[in-house]
Subunit: 69 residues, 6 copies
């Protein structure tokens, strides 16, 4: 599937940690660790585990801009 | 200010394009272009322009995971 | 690409309306019109136009629940 | 209350599953299962349970568009 | 309608500014100006204008926490 | 850090409740309790606890408008 989300950052999953309903998946994107919070069901459906190539996907309207002072 | 958002990707602004109310700011993060949609007012308040160092900031719950097949 | 977003509602695009930076795309999903606000760039990249089959995609954490009284 | 959110999909709750802080509520909308992640407190305040008529509510800026290929 | 969103801040609309597709509505909540970005269609459907009592509504998962240093 | 998010509501943390992965932090803003859902990691990194001054931060595109009938 092709999606409209502007940001698709390719990397490698380094950690999958499930809670009771929400899981945290961490993806190493060029040395930057991107943290994602998704459902346990998504983790199971996609079979996510450390070592896999994956994308961190973010809609442009969900990105803010910050400046150091 | 320190914020709870898990993802703060440091880069350089490469484009600021204002619409009537919504602006698109593009940030080069290690060669990856991250697109953000923010208000024109935020662009003005922060004085955003190409060439500045800036962060693309994303809350973990706004990040999805994708796999190539 | 396979994505973690839990909600992928299949339908047909019935309207694409571009603003200066933000576009509204309406998708008919089993007779329900779903409105999406995405970037003009996404519309252009995907070549979205009325009549196409498309999915309205929503992360579970972006869905609220409402009750009639 | 009337709200600005463009998408209010009417259906029937088919499952309510609480975690420690986050609950997953599934709503059948014309045969499509919509998954929502909301707080346990919201589930309690609204008294959500399977069998109830309910709406899945989504702001237009939280909907993406996907295409098969 | 009753909704699951945890945050419903009551105030008075002080400004409605439409762009081509996206409008900015500002609500004074106890002296704090809350800025919202919604569709022009929502502004028209609800008939929003300055002087009206209104709520700024936010899902808990869309709120971050910040600290001064 | 200065951020583009339009809404930064100053208040006092009144409760921090951790789940397995997701925490709920409540902030009293001029007598209004604002509920936020953030990661446990953010709570730990910022050292959040009741009694602290803190900001509830929300991007304008994540705020909806509601009316009483």
């Amino acid at each position: 599937m092709r999606i409209s989300a502007r940001n698709r950052l390719k990397g490698t999953i380094v950690e999958v940690k499930k809670g009771q309903t929400t899981a945290h998946v961490r993806i190493d994107v060029k040395g930057i660790i991107v943290t994602t919070a998704i459902t346990n069901e998504a983790v199971d459906e996609l079979g996510l585990k450390a070592g896999q190539e994956a994308y961190a996907i973010v809609k442009a309207s969900d990105v803010m801009v910050g400046l150091d002072n």
